[in-house]
Assembly symmetry: C2
Homo-oligomer: 507 residues x 2
């Protein structure tokens, strides 16, 4: 152990670093790019060492502002510096190689060590890739889920909690904005926490934020939700599952992987943390989704329901059609507008129907409708304006304008419309390409950006009919998005041959 005086350094990196003079490092027998523990009276962080000859004086330690904040120290205050020891739980991780099944206490120690900052990024990848390459059995997934939720914030209501969750994978899936007010209108408690976009042009939280605030503390949710019966908030501020944030940020996104077991544990740890009792699970299925085949989706649904059973959550999985975007609008503002339209009886049938089906399943679980009758009851709520009334109430308590209309919602001022190059039926409308175009236009960061689809799968187009309109907040982004749509052609029209290449006449 040694004591070094802190100096704030104007460098920014994802991880914590410690800038130390090479002479001091040599005295401490430490090397750059290795890890140390830095400890104050109230906290401890792990830092990667950056060495310098002259940028910092000997006996000082340079830290970035956020590290100083974490350590809760004042200017010039001394911190203790230790060599870092590898966490013992790493041995359990390694044992996956020989097929070991992780025990409950082993999983808990891994989760605790990762959440308390004991693992390097490489070690977190070793844990995540153990799941990716070897998989976990149902016991392990259950223990991982419980450990993850134990480490996070818990929100306890003293009555049954209902919830809807989608595993994601298709753009335009704004149904939560219709399901939550419908279910709440029937008096069921549905305090839905949702994510911002990770790989989609708009997460439910991004879409709802167009209409009102989505940042609420656990205490605020506990106070408001029992009265309104429903809320739509961002889960990110609540720290429901710290491991999830770490693993997603540091390994899954950089490597572009989403191990099955981690995906299940991620979803269900948050459900456990928020005290969910009844859950309808939307599983979009089909090419271009997370579940390319029906078998994948059915297996997943079986696992999810089994995991729910073990955790005391009653679950119904619903395989939904996922071969094209849902509805016509993609991007936060466009989706919020479409959701309001549906609530007012003016939106696309597909969004209306999917919302009513999923809400109806919760009605059946709650005993408010006979099996098979839930969707019709939910449709009633929407058609008779009860959903609209409840949505206005929720928007109001979440600090938005409760009398907002679809036309009030601003969308991107720069627009371009893509038309059909020839006559034909639309035989393909690619989820992934539509996402890319929406990203290029600026979604989800720029809420007014997105894509509006005039035509969907199976529709007939005459040459020059409008296929889609791109909305953007900037002319440059609009051009980028338009170029992308020209190159990638999200729509495929039957019989459309783009180019014929001939070998020339036979000699």
């Amino acid at each position: 152990m040694t004591s070094l005086k802190t100096k704030k350094f104007d460098l920014n990196t994802e991880r914590d670093f410690a800038l130390i003079n090479s002479q001091t490092l040599s005295n401490l027998k430490m090397k750059h790019s290795s890890y140390i523990k830095v400890k104050s009276d109230s906290a401890e962080i792990m830092c990667e060492i950056i060495a310098t000859e002259n940028l910092i004086e000997p006996e000082l330690i340079g830290l970035k502002e956020s590290s100083i904040k974490l350590l809760n120290i004042k200017k010039d205050q001394k911190v203790s510096v230790y060599a870092r020891r590898k966490p013992a739980s790493l041995e359990h991780v390694k044992n996956k190689r020989i097929g070991s099944v992780w025990k409950e206490n082993q999983i808990r120690s891994i989760v605790n060590d990762i959440c308390s900052g004991q693992y390097t990024d490489l070690e977190i990848s070793m844990f995540t890739l153990a799941q990716f390459y070897k998989g976990l059995n149902m016991d392990e997934i259950q223990f991982l889920t419980s450990s993850m939720s134990e480490y996070g914030t818990t929100i306890d209501f003293d009555e049954p909690v209902y919830d809807k969750h989608s595993i994601g994978g298709i753009p335009g899936n704004k149904v939560s904005l219709i399901i939550v007010p419908t279910v709440a209108a029937a008096g069921l408690l549905i305090p839905k926490t949702s994510s911002r976009a990770i790989t989609s042009p708009s997460g439910t939280a991004d879409t709802m934020e167009v209409l009102c605030d989505v940042n609420f503390s656990a205490d605020e949710i506990l106070e408001i939700a029992p009265k309104t019966r429903g809320m739509l908030v961002w889960g990110g501020t609540l720290d429901l599952s710290p491991l999830d944030e770490i693993v997603i940020h540091r390994v899954e996104q950089p490597l572009g992987i989403d191990p099955h077991s981690q995906m299940l544990a991620s979803i269900f740890s948050k459900k456990v943390s928020t005290g969910v009792d009844y859950l309808v699970l939307d599983i979009p299925t089909g090419e271009g989704t997370k579940m390319p085949t029906k078998e994948d989706a059915i297996n997943y649904a079986h696992e999810a329901t089994e995991l729910g059973r073990r955790l005391g959550i009653q679950i119904e999985g619903a395989l939904s059609y996922g071969e094209q975007p849902l509805g016509k609008a993609i991007g936060p503002a466009l989706e919020a507008r479409e959701a309001l339209n549906v609530i007012m009886g003016k939106g696309p049938t597909s969004v209306f129907e999917k919302s009513a089906e999923l809400a109806g399943i919760l009605f059946e679980m709650a005993g408010l409708a006979q099996p098979g009758q839930g969707a019709s009851l939910a449709s009633d709520y929407i058609e008779k304006g009860k959903t609209k009334e409840k949505m206005e109430e929720i928007i109001g308590v979440q600090g938005g304008n409760s009398t907002v209309t679809p036309d009030d919602i601003l969308v991107g001022e720069y627009t371009a419309t893509v038309t059909a190059p020839k006559d034909g039926y639309i035989v393909k409308l690619s989820n992934s390409t539509i996402k890319k175009i929406a990203f290029a236009a600026g979604a989800p960061k720029h809420k007014v950006s997105g894509v509006y689809l005039h035509k969907k799968l199976g529709d007939y187009c005459a040459k020059d009919d409008e296929l889609m309109t791109i909305y953007s907040n900037s002319e440059g982004r609009l051009t980028e998005a338009l170029n992308l749509s020209m190159n990638l052609s999200p729509y495929i029209l039957e019989g459309m041959i783009i180019k014929r290449i001939s070998s020339g006449p036979k000699v």
Copy 2:
């Protein structure tokens, strides 16, 4: 793409970094901690972005000295900065999850992409952990080996090349210093490249370096070796297997793993690169080695010989006793001294015998001795002074003092001797603890540091008999090493009870 003016920055990290002003980053739509490509006229590197508000001006890029050297640019010269694209070969890596068998061209593209700096550390870990968790089949190991050697330097002799390799795992294994001159004395060509210590207190290159230079270029080896018939050089300068260096440094050492397939490919890629035709493979076996059981070692030997067959290398694997350090000396100078003693007929029998056995196997492979007679021929070479004469020649051409004697070799001036706490037979002498003590004393960095074992397994000790002497270059390190030996007790004497703890009399 954008152009930024280079500025040298006094920061040191393992990886290349790019220090960029936050304003510039925002203009470029880039984020700190993401990766960019930096390109000069002659080279291209991948850098992790560090952001700063004030430490660097807008439109500049801060690089460390070694990055500037790699890019071969002058002061203030401009470089091109690109967003980094993920290498396509990553998809092959990922497919290991579903049990894909890597094809030859897939492995080649992975190896090329890693060696040319296209992979981040996390991505290299994904490749290494695919091997760790899933394993490779023999075809894949063969392709990996070939691809690794293709990427490195090749040394081609126009006559058969002999070699000895140890997979390592026990301290004190200085037999190469006896085998090489013995085999060369018989006229066989044995231009041995070896490593420095990775996890041991002295690698063969470290030990040889006590006697002479070990840094030679491929051209120098091609010129010298055919004349002397033998050399003992460090392989590190030769760049025989660039992938190996990258994987060991960036993933295997930090995570403390050594996947089986990677270990085989690592060894054999260098053998292919140096044109080895006949190889004797020393496989130390027993508790505390890399091959804890005889079955492990036999399986390994079968795999190695099969891999050799496919690569055109004739191999004989030799399981050797590895439950305690080999000989009495551990640490570069002490080991060099012991090797010279053995060559002069004064060293420990175990080192003499193991050296003669392994050299003898090469004699049999070369047809110089009948099966089973090689060891006795090798013993003759040592006993009749031919090994000594050849070693003096090799030391001479490698720039050392060819008339060096064991007593000329300096060892640590700070010494401490550990004695037996009571009478008894030595029933255990721990490889790993002896290693730790030698490390604490300063080996392999400080060549004079190490441990000398007065007693070995099975020896009888009277109380206060000398067990071992620790040598160090510094008083502080000596104390550390001595404390460690007190705490960890490398020797266990039969019947020795250190302490009795009683619950007290029954009430």
